[in-house]
C-alpha cells in the first residue's frame, strides 16, 4: 500500500496552496509578459520597413530607418533606376511626428509617399489614401484613442492636416504610422526636392544583397542596405537599451518565484516536523525524504508555471483587445526558457528545507 504523502501535504491547506500558486504564476507571467513586450516592441518598430521593397537606400552612413537623418536629392532616383537589376525605385519622406492631441504630445511616424506609388498604407480600414496636400491617413488605433475620425483635422508644425483615411495594422506603442503625400511632408520640413530614403525593388533573379552591393558601388554618396539589415539595426537600436533593466526585472521575478516556492515548502516542512520525524523513525531514508520535499517543490513550480503561462496568454489577449497599440509577442523560446527555469526553481526551493530535514532527530517524534 502506498500513501501519497507529498500530495496530501500539499493539499492539507488549500488556501495556502492557492496563494503559493498565485504568487508563482504572477512571477512567471511577469517574466513572459516582459519578454513578450520586448519582442513585441522589436516587431512593431520594423512594421513599416517590413512592408516595403527589399532594398533601402539612404544618405551615406545610414544604417537605420528610424532615428536616422538621411537627406537625398530627388535627382538620385534616376541614378538608382539606371543600376542593372533595379525594377523600381520609390522615394519616401519620413519623420517622427510629435503630434499634439488632447493637449499632450503623441508620437507617430509620418511617412510621405507619392500617391499611386508604393510606400503608403497597405490596408485602409476606412476612407481613402491621401491625394492632395495637407491630407492625412492616420493609424486607426491612434485615431480612436483620441476620438479622431475621417474629416477631423489636426495641427502639426503649424499646418492643418485633414484626416481622409484610417489605416489598420499600422499601430505601435512607440511608432504608430501616419501617411501623407511627399509634397506635404517635405514642405513641413522645408526640404523640397529631397527624399529621406528610397526603397528599391529588384528584378526577378536578383537577390536583395547583390542589388544593395551593386547600388552601393554604382551611386556615390549613398548607403544601400537590405531591408533585413535595416530592420535588425532598428530592432537593436530600440530594444537593446531596455535589455538591461528588463533583465533585472526578470531576475527579480525569478527570485520571487524561488522564494515563494521555497517559503511554502519550507514552512510546510517545518510545520510537519513531527510527521517527518515519524517517517524518519519508521525508517524512511534521507534520500526518500528529500524526494518528498522535491516532489512538492516541483509540483508547485510546474503547476505555478503552467498557470503563469495561461495568465500571460490571457493578459496578452486582453492587451490586444483593450490596448491594441501594445504588442506582446510570447515566443516558444521564452516559454521553453521559463519551463527550464521552473525546474531550476524547484531544485533551488527544495534545497531550503533539506537542511532542516537533515538535522531532524527521529527521536523527536516520541517526545510528546
Amino acid at each position: 500500500m502506498t500513501v501519497p504523502v507529498a500530495r496530501r501535504q500539499l493539499f492539507a491547506e488549500p488556501a495556502k496552496l492557492i496563494v503559493t500558486l498565485v504568487a508563482v504564476a504572477a512571477a512567471v507571467a511577469l517574466v513572459l509578459l516582459l519578454a513578450g513586450l520586448r519582442r513585441g516592441m522589436g516587431e512593431q518598430v520594423t512594421l513599416y520597413v517590413d512592408h516595403q521593397a527589399p532594398v533601402l537606400v539612404g544618405q551615406q552612413g545610414a544604417r537605420n530607418f528610424l532615428s536616422q537623418t538621411s537627406v537625398l536629392p530627388d535627382a538620385l532616383i534616376r541614378d538608382i533606376e539606371r543600376v542593372p537589376g533595379v525594377a523600381e525605385a520609390t522615394p519616401i519622406n519620413q519623420e517622427y511626428a510629435m503630434l499634439r492631441l488632447h493637449e499632450r504630445p503623441v508620437l507617430a511616424l509620418l511617412i510621405g509617399y507619392d500617391p499611386g506609388k508604393p510606400g503608403g498604407p497597405w490596408k485602409l480600414a476606412s476612407g481613402r489614401a491621401p491625394s492632395g496636400s495637407a491630407e492625412l491617413v492616420l493609424d486607426r488605433v491612434l485615431a480612436s484613442e483620441h476620438s479622431l475620425e475621417i474629416g477631423s483635422t489636426l495641427e502639426y508644425r503649424g499646418a492643418r492636416l485633414r484626416i481622409v483615411g484610417l489605416s489598420s495594422g499600422t499601430s505601435g506603442f512607440m511608432t504608430p504610422l501616419a501617411f501623407a503625400s511627399r509634397t506635404t511632408v517635405s514642405a513641413l520640413s522645408r526640404r523640397p526636392g529631397t527624399a529621406n530614403f528610397i526603397f528599391v525593388r529588384s528584378d526577378r533573379g536578383v537577390t536583395p544583397a547583390a542589388l544593395a552591393t551593386r547600388i552601393d558601388r554604382a551611386v556615390p554618396g549613398i548607403s544601400a542596405l537590405t531591408r533585413r539589415e535595416v530592420a535588425a539595426n532598428d530592432r537593436r537600436q530600440f530594444v537593446d537599451p531596455f535589455s538591461g533593466p528588463l533583465f533585472a526585472m526578470v531576475a527579480l521575478a525569478f527570485a520571487v518565484a524561488v522564494l515563494v516556492i521555497g517559503l511554502a515548502v519550507y514552512s510546510s516542512t517545518a510545520e510537519r516536523s513531527r510527521e517527518y520525524a515519524t517517517l524518519k523513525a519508521l525508517g524512511l531514508g534521507g534520500r526518500a525524504l528529500y524526494r518528498l520535499v522535491g516532489i512538492q517543490a516541483a509540483g508547485l513550480a510546474l503547476t505555478g508555471t503552467g498557470l503563469g503561462f495561461l495568465l500571460a496568454l490571457a493578459a496578452a489577449r486582453g492587451v490586444s483587445v483593450f490596448a491594441p497599440k501594445y504588442l506582446i509577442a510570447i515566443s516558444a523560446g521564452s516559454v521553453a526558457a521559463v519551463a527550464a527555469s521552473a525546474l531550476a526553481m524547484a531544485v533551488v526551493a527544495a534545497l531550503l528545507p533539506s537542511h532542516f530535514l537533515a538535522r531532524l532527530d527521529p527521536a523527536s517524534a516520541f517526545r510528546r
Binding site: 488556501a15 504568487a23 536616422q68 537627406v71 510629435m98 499632450r104 504630445p105 533593466p245 515563494v260 510546510s268
Partner: protein
C-alpha cells in the same frame, strides 16, 4: 496597587521563525522593488532627457509653430528666424541650432546620438575633456566616447564623413540615446540643407521674465512657437511619461499581486503554526478584534520592513549603477516612493485577510481538546 504587564505578542510571533519572516520580508521587498526600480529608471531617463535643455543656458526655446519638444521631434525654421528673434525687445542673445538624429560609427562600433549643430560647440555646457569643435571636429558625450573607444584626437564617422573628436561633455546621455556637437554650418553642409535651422535658443535680458519674452517672440515672429525652458522641459518629460504610464501601471499591478501573495503566504503560514497560541489567547479572554489586530500587525510589520529594504536597495542601486553603466541613471522621487508606499499599504490590507479569516475560525475551546 495594580501591576500592568504587557507581552509583545506580535514581535515574538514574528521572531519565532526568523527564517520565514526574513524570507517574507525579502519577497515583499522584491515585489515593491519592481515598482520602485521601474519608476526610478523612467525618472532617470526623464532627467537625462532634459539635461541638454536644462544646461543650455536658454531662457526661451523657439521652434517651428506647434513644436515644443526636441526628443523624436522635427522642427524647421528659416535661418533668418534668429535675426528676427534678436530684434525682439528683451532678447539678450539668440543662437540657432540644428538638431538631428544621427549614427556615429567608429570601426564596427556604433551609437545613436542627437547631433547638435551649434557654432558655440555646446557652450555654456561645460566640457569634461578637450575643447570645443572647430570645422571637421566633434564633441562626444563621455559615455558614448568610452563605448566607441573614441578619445580626443581620434576619428569617428557621421553621415559617411570623418570627424575628429575634439572634446567630451558629460551627463547628457540616457539608456536611449546620447548627444554630440559639431559646427552648425558644417552639419548643414553635410546634410545639404542650407538656410534652415531646427531651434533658436534665446537668452533674456535680466529685467525680462522668460514667459513674457516667449509671448513677445510669438507675437513678433510669424510661424514660431516660443516656450520657456521650464515649459519646454516639462513637455519633453511628458513624452516619456505618457509613453511609459501604462507599463508602470502594469508593473504596479504585478508588484501588488506578488506582494499580496508573498505577504499573505507568510502571514498565513505563521498563523497556521500559531493556531494553538491564538486559541490559548482567545481562551484567556483575548477578543476576536484584538486577535485580528495582532495578525494584521504582523503583516504590517513584515510589509513595512519589506518596503524599507526595497527603498534601501533602490537607493544603493541609484548610487552605484551610474559608475557601472553611466547611461543607466536611477532617480528616486518622493511621489514614486509615496506610490510604492501606497502599494505596500494596499498589500498589507489585502494580505492581512488571509490570517484574519483563519483566526476568525478558531474555537477557544480547541486548546483543551488535547
Amino acid at each position: 496597587m495594580t501591576a500592568r504587564m504587557s507581552v509583545p505578542l506580535a514581535r515574538r510571533q514574528l521572531l519565532f521563525r526568523k527564517g520565514r519572516t526574513l524570507a517574507g520580508i525579502a519577497g515583499i521587498s522584491a515585489a515593491l522593488l519592481l515598482v520602485l526600480a521601474l519608476n526610478a529608471i523612467f525618472a532617470g531617463i526623464n532627467d537625462r532627457l532634459t539635461a541638454y535643455i536644462d544646461g543650455s543656458g536658454a531662457d526661451v526655446i523657439v521652434a517651428q509653430r506647434g513644436v515644443d519638444t526636441m526628443h523624436m521631434t522635427q522642427s524647421a525654421l528659416p535661418e533668418q528666424t534668429a535675426t528676427a528673434v534678436v530684434a525682439v525687445p528683451g532678447v539678450a542673445g539668440a543662437k540657432p541650432i540644428l538638431y538631428v538624429p544621427a549614427m556615429i560609427e567608429r570601426g564596427e562600433k556604433r551609437g545613436i546620438v542627437y547631433l547638435i549643430g551649434d557654432d558655440s560647440g555646446g557652450a555654456p555646457l561645460p566640457l569634461s575633456a578637450g575643447r570645443r569643435p572647430d570645422a571637421g571636429e566633434i564633441v562626444l558625450e563621455r559615455s558614448l566616447a568610452e563605448r566607441l573607444g573614441a578619445t580626443p584626437g581620434s576619428s569617428v564617422r557621421v553621415f559617411g564623413q570623418s570627424f575628429r573628436v575634439s572634446g567630451e561633455v558629460e551627463g547628457l546621455a540616457s539608456i536611449l540615446n546620447s548627444v554630440a556637437f559639431v559646427r552648425r554650418q558644417e552639419l548643414a553642409r553635410v546634410l545639404g540643407i542650407g538656410g534652415v535651422v531646427s531651434y533658436v535658443l534665446v537668452r533674456a535680458r535680466p529685467e525680462v521674465r522668460a514667459a513674457e519674452l516667449a509671448a513677445r517672440i510669438e507675437t513678433s515672429v510669424p510661424g514660431v512657437t516660443a516656450s520657456t525652458r521650464e515649459a519646454f522641459a516639462r513637455s519633453e518629460r511628458r513624452v516619456v511619461g505618457d509613453m511609459t504610464t501604462d507599463i508602470v501601471r502594469a508593473m504596479i499591478l504585478v508588484g501588488f499581486v506578488i506582494g499580496v501573495a508573498v505577504a499573505g503566504l507568510v502571514a498565513y503560514s505563521a498563523t497556521l503554526s500559531q493556531l494553538r497560541d491564538y486559541a490559548v489567547l482567545r481562551a484567556l479572554g483575548l477578543r476576536a478584534r484584538r486577535a485580528h489586530a495582532l495578525a494584521t500587525a504582523q503583516v504590517g510589520a513584515t510589509v513595512v520592513a519589506g518596503f524599507l529594504l526595497a527603498l534601501a536597495f533602490v537607493w544603493v542601486l541609484a548610487a552605484i549603477l551610474p559608475s557601472l553603466s553611466p547611461t543607466l541613471v536611477l532617480a528616486i522621487r518622493t511621489g514614486d516612493v509615496a506610490q510604492a508606499l501606497s502599494v505596500a499599504a494596499a498589500v498589507t490590507l489585502a494580505a492581512a485577510a488571509f490570517p484574519v479569516l483563519r483566526v476568525a475560525r478558531i474555537d477557544p475551546a480547541s486548546v483543551f481538546r488535547r
